[in-house]
């Protein structure tokens, strides 16, 4: 790849997506480093975030840039995996190599989720509390695991901060290091993506942050979490928040290891479940009118 796909050399989605995605990741890292210099995960975090957004020079821009690039990276990565999945490329992969694709996606969702908590607004705090309560439901080890992921009180934002800023990004880079080596060589993609993200960040406002003490009827989680949020309204937290996602990703991970009709059946099963979850996300986005899930 020597020039931009939009210039007509290669328009294939499979080719462009990972490269744009990695470019977005780089922008995300750089903007994240800038924001980290101003972010303080203790005390009145919401105030701190608000100051970054409206007081500190260029703060609004870097927040938008970080948000947009992070979302773009994860969405493109998701599309990349769907692309692989639909073209059944996993058949040529070992379970280990396939896991190298699926696990980074899971990590990406966790990075987005911890970022959502770190906003420090009402939605972030609710998301953190739900996450905390779901983790506590894990039999036997729930309390212990929770202590390593999220804790109530003054430390509420500290552990998500560590995961968001250090642990998970480092793990992600480690897991996709080959992709970075292979695909992250064209400056054209980086410039194209950066220009696009700059335009977006200058023109489009971020979703509003809801003050923690605001009295509102409805609090929703991040878009990828809405399906789980819907399920939490009707299923026990251990099922909706832990078992169901775990089983889904376990099946997805084991897919290359299956053979024949079983693999075919699981393939279509994953498609069905993914479509169903997409439906739940859309339902949650448009039709949840009260924060009934959160008031359980």
């Amino acid at each position: 790849m020597e020039s931009l796909p939009l210039m007509g050399i290669n328009h294939k989605m499979s080719f462009c997506i990972p490269r744009i995605s990695l470019s977005a990741l780089l922008v995300c890292f750089i903007s994240g480093i800038i924001l980290t210099c101003q972010y303080y995960p203790f005390g009145n975090v919401f105030r701190n975030v608000e100051e970054i957004t409206t007081v500190i020079p260029y703060g609004f821009f870097f927040r938008r840039l970080h948000y947009a690039s992070g979302q773009l990276f994860v969405i493109l990565m998701l599309i990349h995996i769907v692309d692989h999945f639909m073209k059944r490329r996993y058949k040529g992969f070992s379970v280990g190599k396939w896991a190298g694709l699926v696990i980074p996606l899971i990590i990406c969702f966790f990075i987005l989720f911890t970022g959502y908590i770190l906003k420090g607004d009402k939605e972030g705090i609710y998301a953190g509390n739900i996450f905390y309560n779901i983790l506590k439901e894990i039999p036997v080890a729930g309390e212990t695991i929770t202590r390593f992921v999220i804790r109530p009180g003054e430390m509420f934002f500290w552990l998500p901060y560590l995961y968001h800023v250090f642990f998970l990004p480092i793990l992600l880079i480690f897991l996709i290091r080959d992709h970075i080596n292979n695909w992250f060589s064209q400056a054209g993609f980086l410039l194209f993506t950066t220009a696009g993200l700059f335009i977006y960040s200058l023109l489009v406002r971020m979703p509003m942050d809801i003050p923690p003490h605001a009295k509102i009827e409805l609090v929703k989680g991040p878009w990828f979490f809405l399906g789980i949020q819907v399920c939490l309204g009707v299923l026990p937290p251990i099922v909706a928040g832990i078992a169901a996602p775990l089983i889904f990703f376990a099946i997805l991970l084991l897919l290359p290891g299956l053979k024949g009709h079983l693999q075919k059946a699981v393939h279509y099963g994953i498609i069905f479940l993914s479509l169903f979850y997409t439906f739940l996300v859309i339902f949650g986005y448009f039709f949840i009118k009260h924060s009934w899930v959160l008031s359980r």
Partner: protein, 607 residues
């Protein structure tokens, strides 16, 4: 291509730098982001200075933002709104003890109205519904509740303030309903510099009257306004007169309550904070919540501010908030019916002074002269003050309501238009000679009619007799038309209207009392066999229902006793007349001693 992209990125960076430099920098930052735009806003009152409270404490929103859209997110325009008041006025550091009381108060629950409607219209005896319940459950109840939702439901503290133009828009809004002084703004607001609506504990009567001008119409009567028929008379030249109330209703000027006419007292001079905002109990009816009687001031009990503990502290606090009335530590303050301090009624030494809350002006107070014969005479023990001192009472006869199922109407509680439309009209309104009866407390008191004829029409527009109903009720309330002078003896003992028979001629024939009514109910086609203004017939049989358990017209025995006295008035018209010291004995003497001068008089005047 790369050069073009680099150029684009550089251009965008230039735009960003330009944009950032254009943003106004506010350094040092104000305590709240709000104040960076709203630089010069007047204080709502001296107890809530913006310099100390900022905006967020009351209006919420995002106090850290310098961006309008972000700052205003989740902001509440009216902090007094009961749906948010727990986080604003009622938050822990402000007034946490008052807000729960207000939510249980009758102005927030409207329990009395709802209960009476359901009882009278649908025979539901133990209705426990209130506004909050009805807001949560849209399909709770039948015709009576639908009537409440579409007619009465526009007047309670849960209603959103400013949801309409005019008087109706000023109603509601929780705490703000009473504590904000309404001023119509004509000029658009300059966001950087404007007058914040004024908050006060010296509630102007306009804030009360904007709601209390219908039903019992106390808010009108007190100020000497009687909602009249819709004739618009007397004319102003060729035009209908301009004495108009909201809704285009006309009024006449009648004698105002003496407390207003003579002392310029406003509603809150009598009505205490407990009586208005509640005492924490979900009362069934307004009279359960009201914390004042005539005796509270005219036959007062005092308590020392120093020694009264919490009550004394509350008195001092209320006086402090009033800012016009001073309480010296050595003063004693009056106590209300429920024992709450009345900080504006003070005893300083031997002097009893009533202070007007709006301006702190002292008012000379007449202490109840209990030893005077007219207040202490035997047989008058059950008389309420209102039964003699209320000059008039608004009386609405025959309120006609049509209910059409083929039309829709706005539900005040949900804000949605729902099937079924009510329309009200009436037959006639009077003010003179309040009818007397026994109220729910067992006292003789004035009664006024509340007579509803409901005609139901189905979706085709046809009248449905089975669903239509009428409820003819007499209701007792304080008319708020107190005068110094009272009714005469004959006004009560010999007037058929006062006794509850209605307008007509009361006469004796063959030693029997007879009554010929003016109103011919049968010919009027009302479907009733008694005059609309009759509470009871001459034999003591009740003609109409009452709105409270225990309330009733005079019974036969009482009517007999009352009428018995009337024959003595031509000669024995003074309260201190000896015959009234033991009227039974006097009566016995009259019947047995035929040489009494009474007999000569009786023979002279009896045909």
């Amino acid at each position: 291509m790369k050069r073009i992209l680099i150029l684009i990125i550089l251009s965008l960076t230039t735009v960003l730098i330009y944009q950032e430099n254009r943003r106004s920098k506010i350094l040092p930052l104000p305590t709240e982001g709000c104040l960076s735009c709203h630089k010069s806003v007047s204080d709502p009152d001296t107890s809530h200075p913006i310099s100390a409270f900022g905006c967020y404490s009351c209006h919420m929103g995002n106090p850290y933002s310098l961006d309008k859209e972000r700052g205003h997110l989740t902001m509440v325009k009216n902090p007094g709104d009961l749906s948010v008041v727990g986080s604003t006025c009622g938050q822990a550091k402000c007034h946490p003890d008052i807000v729960p009381r207000v939510k249980k108060s009758i102005m927030a629950t409207n329990r009395g109205i709802i209960k009476t409607l359901e009882y009278r219209w649908e025979k539901i005896e133990n209705s426990n519904k209130d506004v909050e319940y009805l807001m949560a459950k849209e399909n709770a109840g039948g015709l009576a509740i639908d009537q409440y939702r579409k007619m009465c439901g526009g007047c309670h503290l849960w209603k959103k303030r400013g949801d309409r133009q005019g008087e109706i828009g000023k109603r509601g809004g929780g705490c703000s309903d009473c504590h904000i002084i309404d001023k119509d703004r004509k000029e658009p607001i300059d966001v950087t510099k404007f007058q914040h609506p004024e908050i006060t504990t010296r509630i102007p009567s306009e804030n009360c009257v904007k709601c209390h001008n219908r039903s019992a119409r106390m808010g009108l009567s007190y100020f000497g306004k009687f909602e009249s028929e819709g004739y618009g008379t007397p004319f102003d030249g060729w035009e209908l007169n301009q004495r108009r109330l909201s809704g285009g209703r006309f009024y006449l000027n009648l004698p105002a309550d003496i407390h207003y006419a003579k002392a310029d007292m406003t509603c809150i001079d009598c009505h205490t904070e407990t009586g208005v905002m509640g005492d924490g109990t979900r009362h069934e009816y307004m009279e359960g919540q009201v914390d004042i009687t005539c005796r509270s001031c005219h036959d007062p009990l005092f308590t020392s501010v120093k020694e009264a503990g919490e009550a004394g502290d509350l008195a001092v606090k209320l006086a402090f908030l009033n800012k016009k009335i001073d309480i010296p530590q050595e003063a004693k303050v009056g106590r209300s019916k429920k024992g709450k301090p009345m900080y504006n009624l003070q005893k300083r030494g031997d002097q009893i002074v009533f202070y007007r809350k709006k301006d702190g002006a002292p008012i000379e107070l007449k202490i109840f002269p209990e030893k005077k014969p007219h207040h202490s005479m035997a047989g008058h023990e059950r008389l309420s003050c209102q039964s003699c001192h209320s000059a008039w009472i608004p009386q609405c006869y025959g309120c006609h309501i049509t209910y059409r199922k083929d039309l829709v109407q706005k539900d005040w509680l949900s804000g949605e238009k729902t099937p079924g439309q009510f329309r009200e009209s009436r037959s006639y309104i009077r003010f003179s000679k309040p009818t007397l009866g026994i109220n729910a407390s067992g006292m003789v008191a004035p009664f006024s009619p509340c007579q509803v004829f409901v005609s139901v029409f189905d979706r085709k527009g046809d009248y449905v007799h089975e669903e239509s109903l009428n409820t003819l009720t007499m209701t007792s309330f304080d008319p708020h038309t107190t005068q110094k002078g009272s009714r005469t003896c004959h006004d009560c003992h010999g007037d058929p209207k006062s006794l509850g028979f209605g307008e007509g001629i009361l006469y004796k024939k063959e030693k029997e009392w007879r009554f010929r009514p003016t109103y011919d109910a049968q010919s009027s086609g009302m479907g009733i066999d008694f005059p609309l203004d009759a509470f009871v017939d001459i034999n003591g049989k009740p003609a109409q229902l009452t709105s409270r358990k225990g309330a009733r017209p005079f019974n036969q025995e009482e009517i007999g006793k009352i009428l018995d006295v009337d024959g003595c008035f031509p000669c024995h018209v003074r309260y201190e007349d000896k015959i009234y010291e033991d009227f039974k004995q006097s009566r016995r003497r009259f019947e047995t001693e035929k040489d009494l001068p009474c007999w000569e008089t009786a023979r002279r005047y009896t045909p």
